[in-house]
């Protein structure tokens, strides 16, 4: 047998072995020249599709600068009490209403679509960083939100988080990274390691957004169009029976109701650093659990046993660290009449809600934080 024939035979056997390895039951009769070549091409096809994206790398750039204006505005006003939260806070309170009902200066820092990671940044970089920090800070939260550090702090929320980052935030990054890693299955971790190009998502989204704007407007109008779009979709414009917070993106919050474990989750959350900063800067923290939209008959909805245990552990933990825990979920006076879309308060009811809140809870907050009506405005 000549060397050429030997080589051909060897190739035939190798191709056959690979075909059998990939598809052990593929018919040997199919191993004609063209079919063998076909399997090689098919293998090359699958390999190149899977391999090419793995070679790509992405270096993330900062998307949003630190919002100095907010820092200066707060410094200018020098509030003694500040409320932090997401759209739940935004729909319940605003500066003007608080100005009218509170005997001391208050401010609302509401960031819609935010989670505990962003609240930590707001607290650390806007409030605790003030020369004269506020005496009391109230954080409005839902259920297990305080121990879901990655929720609404990563991905497309990254740009929002950067608005509250004056520089590097190693602790923030560490907590977020650990939380994200914990949520992933080993297969997901493998995928993220093999394909780091996924990091380019926010930058790509930003680019597509700019292409869309470039198709319809001049560069100077971009910001105006974005503002108009946000105005259109603000909470007050939503259908009242439309629960935006029952959307897919709130799944982690709902899922936490089934596996919430405060003692296991608190170490990897932003609660310990927030409480530490509060202690060092003499700020009293109140964590206020808002009541979700009640049913049509305003019947009391009991927590699941897991959620009840979680809230009890959270309350004890906060008490041990000098913070106050308030729970509105059992308050029968907060009826469906207050609600607009989902868990948001209707715009027409915001003032009534704020007054009700102040009447019910201000005393306890003032007593715990040392704030009182006599504190100078």
């Amino acid at each position: 047998m000549g060397a050429g024939n030997m080589q051909t035979e060897w190739r035939r056997l190798a191709a056959h072995a690979i075909v059998r390895a990939i598809m052990p039951s593929a018919k040997p009769a199919a191993a004609t020249i063209s079919c063998r070549l076909g399997w090689w091409v098919a293998a090359a096809m699958v390999t190149s599709i899977l391999a090419f994206p793995a070679l790509l790398r992405f270096r993330p750039e900062r998307q949003a600068p630190f919002d100095q204006n907010l820092l200066h505005r707060l410094a200018g006003r020098g509030p003694q009490c500040v409320l932090i939260g997401d759209s739940m806070l935004e729909s319940r309170f605003d500066d003007a209403v608080l100005e009218a009902i509170a005997p001391y200066r208050c401010a609302v820092v509401a960031q819609h679509g935010s989670g505990s990671g962003i609240w930590y940044l707001i607290f650390k970089n806007l409030l605790a960083a003030q020369e004269r920090p506020p005496r009391s800070v109230i954080i409005l939260f839902r259920d297990a939100q305080l121990t879901l550090p990655a929720w609404r702090s990563t991905g497309r929320y990254r740009g929002t988080a950067q608005k509250y980052m004056p520089g590097e935030e190693p602790l923030f990054e560490k907590i977020i990274t650990q939380a994200v890693e914990r949520q992933k299955s080993p297969f997901e971790r493998l995928l993220h390691t093999v394909y780091p190009i996924q990091e380019a998502r926010e930058a790509a989204e930003e680019k597509i957004d700019k292409w869309a704007l470039a198709l319809v407007a001049r560069r100077r109008d971009y910001e105006r169009i974005r503002t108009e779009t946000n105005r259109l979709f603000k909470v007050a414009n939503l259908r009242h029976d439309q629960s935006v917070d029952e959307s897919k993106e709130d799944e982690p919050l709902r899922a936490a109701d089934k596996d919430a474990n405060f003692d296991a989750d608190v170490r990897g959350s932003f609660l310990p650093p927030m409480l530490e900063i509060a202690k060092s800067r003499g700020i009293h923290l109140t964590f206020f659990r808002i009541k979700p939209r009640p049913p049509a008959d305003n019947a009391m909805v009991a927590d699941s046993p897991l959620q009840a245990a979680y809230q009890s552990a959270l309350q004890t933990y906060l008490k041990d660290h000098g913070a106050l825990y308030l729970d509105e979920t059992k308050d029968p006076s907060v009826t469906l009449a207050y609600y607009g879309s989902g868990d948001h308060v209707a715009p027409a009811m915001a003032r009534a809600y704020a007054e009700q809140f102040w009447k019910t809870y201000a005393g306890r907050i003032e007593e715990a934080s040392g704030l009182n009506g006599g504190t100078a405005r």
């Binding site: 098919a42 096809m45 599709i49 299955s185 995928l191 998502r201 319809v216 169009i225």
Partner: protein, 472 residues
């Protein structure tokens, strides 16, 4: 289990490995429990009605083969059991709610029960597939399947179980009963279908869904905003459902099966009947063969044909969901089909055959399809009338700007669909003829799939939505 989850990828890899490593005679037996695991993954009780349907229809078909004289009686058993299941799980509360409303209007106080059950995923698909098999056996089109294992695989084969395409026994059951192989060409085809399917779902459908959902959550959108939302939904539902079909077909190819296609560029339809020849083909052909033709089809008088059209479209609408908007959507197509049919009788052929008329007809049909999607998407009938009465003249200028911006986003994300349609309709054949060898076709497919997979990794939507047709 849903296709666009890592759990599914893990499941698919394990099932593929097990399937091809087993000797041929064990493969069907292996796929049945694998399919049941897939189906019962989230809600194991979904398996109960599914197993009931499978066993009843298998037994009925065997009975048809053994005692042809009792054909009518046995088919009735199958029809009652399948439609009974659908009636209980899908339509019971709808009819009870409407009866309750009627009684209240008449000031009668009749307590009616409410069923607190989740609709089993895919029930409308597998009951139709199973019922179709029984009818085919009763008509002598296919022989009754002897093996319960093979029949169970025909109904439960996981790629098509939850949202079709609804398979005919003559097509899928025959494949189940014969040996299967995978060729390199099958593999290439499967890879292309999977890449394109996942891309359409995760990059196109789920991205434009964000715009559609936001707009349909608005209390009172203006004319430009509403119709931008309708356009977004139009892209979403096509990308979403055709993605499911492509993933199902691609997955089936990996196991050596061929599933029938379900779409043929529906937005290039130039009439309502053409639309239904291109949209959800497996359902429309099922309805045609098992309902429209038995009713008499278009063979009788004109009045009888129109009556049949109304019945067929009414039931097509109702098949989609127990809600009045789906019924209205079906009747809307009945009206459109009747108008087109009557117009076809009176318009001179010279006019319809004029050059440039077809693009105009396609544009007109696209507009009419979007009106249909508004009816389909808007569950509140009261709001629907309000939406249809909106006038462009009273919309604020700012809304036109926002609508054009949102429209541009939709356009960018739907560009691959447009390019695919151009390639498929205009260029594919010409390219295929000019290729020096088939390997060039593979190179092209590899390049396109690599680009699709790369974009998918970067741009897959973080707000992952269920497939729309899961709810039907």
């Amino acid at each position: 289990m849903i296709f666009h989850s890592l759990t599914y990828i893990e499941f698919l890899l394990c099932t593929l490995a097990g399937y091809w490593l087993l000797p041929e005679r064990w493969r069907n037996l292996f796929l049945v429990p694998a399919s049941l695991i897939f189906y019962g993954w989230a809600q194991p009780w979904f398996l109960l009605p599914f197993v009931a349907t499978t066993v009843i229809d298998y037994t009925v078909a065997r009975g048809l083969a053994a005692t042809p004289g009792r054909r009518r009686w046995l088919v009735t058993v199958s029809v009652i059991s399948n439609l009974g299941l659908l009636g209980i799980f899908k339509y019971f509360n709808f009819f009870a709610d409407n009866l309750r409303a009627l009684f209240e209007a008449l000031h009668w106080h009749v307590p009616l029960p409410v069923l607190h059950v989740v609709l089993p995923a895919g029930i409308s698909f597998y009951t139709f597939q199973s019922l179709g098999y029984v009818i085919d056996v009763s008509r002598g089109h296919v022989p009754a399947c002897r093996s319960l294992r093979d029949y169970a695989l025909f109904v439960s084969f996981f790629p098509q179980l939850v949202a079709g395409p609804i398979q005919r026994a003559g097509h899928l059951l025959t494949q189940v009963q014969h040996s299967r192989t995978v060729t390199p060409a099958n593999l290439e085809n499967a890879v292309v279908l999977l890449a394109w399917g996942f891309f359409k779902k995760l990059v196109i459908a789920d991205r434009v869904a964000v715009t559609a959902d936001k707009i349909f959550a608005l209390q009172s959108p203006s004319f430009p905003i509403l119709w931008t939302g309708v356009l977004a939904f139009c892209i979403q539902i096509y990308a979403d459902f055709s993605a499911y079909t492509d993933i199902a077909r691609g997955t089936a190819r990996l196991f050596g099966f061929d599933l029938t296609p379900n779409f043929n560029h529906p937005y290039l339809a130039d009439s309502p009947s053409d639309f239904w020849r291109r949209w959800h083909i497996s359902l429309s052909t099922w309805i045609r063969d098992y309902l429209f033709i038995p009713l008499g089809g278009s063979r009788g008088s004109e009045a009888r044909t129109l009556r049949n059209l109304v019945i067929v479209f009414f039931l097509t609408g109702l098949w989609h969901g127990a809600s009045w908007n789906f019924v209205l959507w079906g009747l809307y197509y009945a009206v459109l089909t009747i108008i087109y049919r009557l117009a076809g009788h009176i318009s001179p052929p010279r006019l319809t055959n004029l050059p440039g008329m077809r693009p105009l007809r396609i544009v007109l049909m696209f507009v009419l399809t979007n009106i249909g999607w508004l009816i389909f998407r808007e569950r509140r009938v009261g709001q629907l009338w309000h939406d249809l009465a909106l006038r462009p003249a009273v919309a604020p200028a700012a809304d036109w700007v926002v609508a054009s911006y949102l429209g541009a986003i939709i356009l960018i994300f739907s560009a691959p669909l447009v390019l695919h349609a151009i390639w498929d309709v205009l260029l594919r054949e010409r390219f295929a003829r000019r290729l020096p060898s088939p390997q060039w076709g593979w190179c092209g497919a590899t390049g396109v799939c690599t680009i699709l997979f790369t974009i998918l990794l970067i741009l897959y939507s973080e707000t992952v939505q269920d497939f729309i047709y899961f709810q039907f």
